[in-house]
Amino acid sequence: MSPSRTETSLLWLLRALAAIAGAITLLIVVFLLVEAWPALRSPGFTHFLSDEAWFPSSSTPQFNIAPMVAGTVAATLGAMLLATPLGIAAALFCRFYAPPALASGFRRLLELLAGIPSVVYGFWGLVVLTPLIRQWAPPGQSLLAAVLILSLMILPTIALLSETALRSIPRSYLQGAAALGLSRWRTISGVALPAARCGIASAIMLAAGRAIGETMAVLMVAGNIVQVPDSIFAPVRTLTANIALELGYAMGGHRAALFVSGLMLLVLIVVLVTLSDWIMREEIHG
């Protein structure tokens, strides 16, 4: 099959489109680097990990962002641990358990959940959720609240994309399972989930990105104290909340320091992506 002229030009068009898509990330990285540069030069990057605390605009400024990295990681991990099983279960429910009419209704509901603005989630969390948590463990605005709200926000992504992945499993696989007389659960665990694992993995990746990057809702429920959380009831500040809280009023070095937390966030994402890339390839080749 030798490519024709139109095919070649199509290919180049597609390459150009993909290059634009890829270039956006590069532009954002460059933008962050430029904005963060003054802080990286002085006081220098090591200060961001070795200073005692985070007081960027005091007379003796301190720039430790390590607790916020911990806060981001804790909130994201918590949300992933909670939302992944729930999301996949919701997808399985849609695909294999619910009667068709119910499944379609349930999908509509997930789509709506995906479109509720983060400020509404945050407001709901602040007014309804944190007072509930406060009755157990004050002040209520806590890592736990952040994890719960984040799970709620990324659940639709995991559920909807996993459901599409499950839906595109070739029919013959499922017919084969039926012919073997496998039960519903065995069909799911032995045939459907393994066959859809790539799609589900990319759903989880997208959701993880969303969880790391979410700003407004977390800011409203997490309590925003810069500390390494010692329990799930402790208030934490994430890197994104740090930017959103302080950027509007930050000048000079403080502002640049906030962009360093943006860069740090990108580093976290790159680590995550590399890790998942590696796991996926092990999976395929192993």
Binding site: A53, P56, P139, I225, L245
Partner: protein
Amino acid sequence: MIKKILKACCVVAISLLLVGCSGEQQEGAAADGLIGQLIVTGSSTIAPLAGEIAKRFEQEHPGTRIDVQSGGSSRGIADVRRGTADIGMVSRQLNPDEIDLVAYPIARDGVAVILHRDNPLQALSEDQIVAIYTGSVTRWSEIGGADAPITVVNKAEGRSTLELFLSHFKLRNEDIRPSVIIGDNQQGIRTVAADPNAIGYVSIGTAAFEVTRGTPIKALPMDAVEATLESVRNGSFPLSRPLHLVTLPEAGAGAGAARAESAALIQAFIEYAASSQVDDLTEAQYFVPLAH
């Protein structure tokens, strides 16, 4: 079908672009010679007020357009310096390194310490407030309240209410031991309203308004002065801040007729925003108009 959709998308996009490019020319000439567009950016506290002022200004001066954008005081300063905005909104005094800009006060705002309505304490001395915020008092029972831990609500670094609070109580942000850090005013009110053991500080007008509509909070008097808009107006309330519009001093000094035109517009808008003609708007946003 998708081809059709794509085509439609392209057509829509292109035609919108064309409309967009031609949209600029519909401004009619104004009787008073004021014409053109201003961009105002900055403090999210002032933005709703500035938006209302801009609407009224536009009505009185057809041919002008005032676009108000939000995003924080420092954004206002940065945008004016960079020239991406004509006027900045700054909800605090200018810092010593910001003397390259001229600030015009347009209103005042007070900051009140608030508690939950069910908290039995009716007033706190300054020393008690300092003790609570620095963490030397951590339970209400230590100062005659209920036997419960205090939820100390503080504002995020850089916020002007925080700076006002710190400078009044002669505190450093490093000394404060907060339980919760918040951003916007309303978040502070929600947090205190939801937690009977919380203490926080918010804009006075907002607090007074929320009390009248039944939100379970109360504003504490400061130095025995009631926390009301009235005491901010007569200057007796100790914690108050000006709300500013800032511009470059040479606005208008630049060459060219267009420059001079926009300088006249900037000046006219700032004067209008500081005049008694907008006092009702200022009060409607729960701020204190200037004494004229």
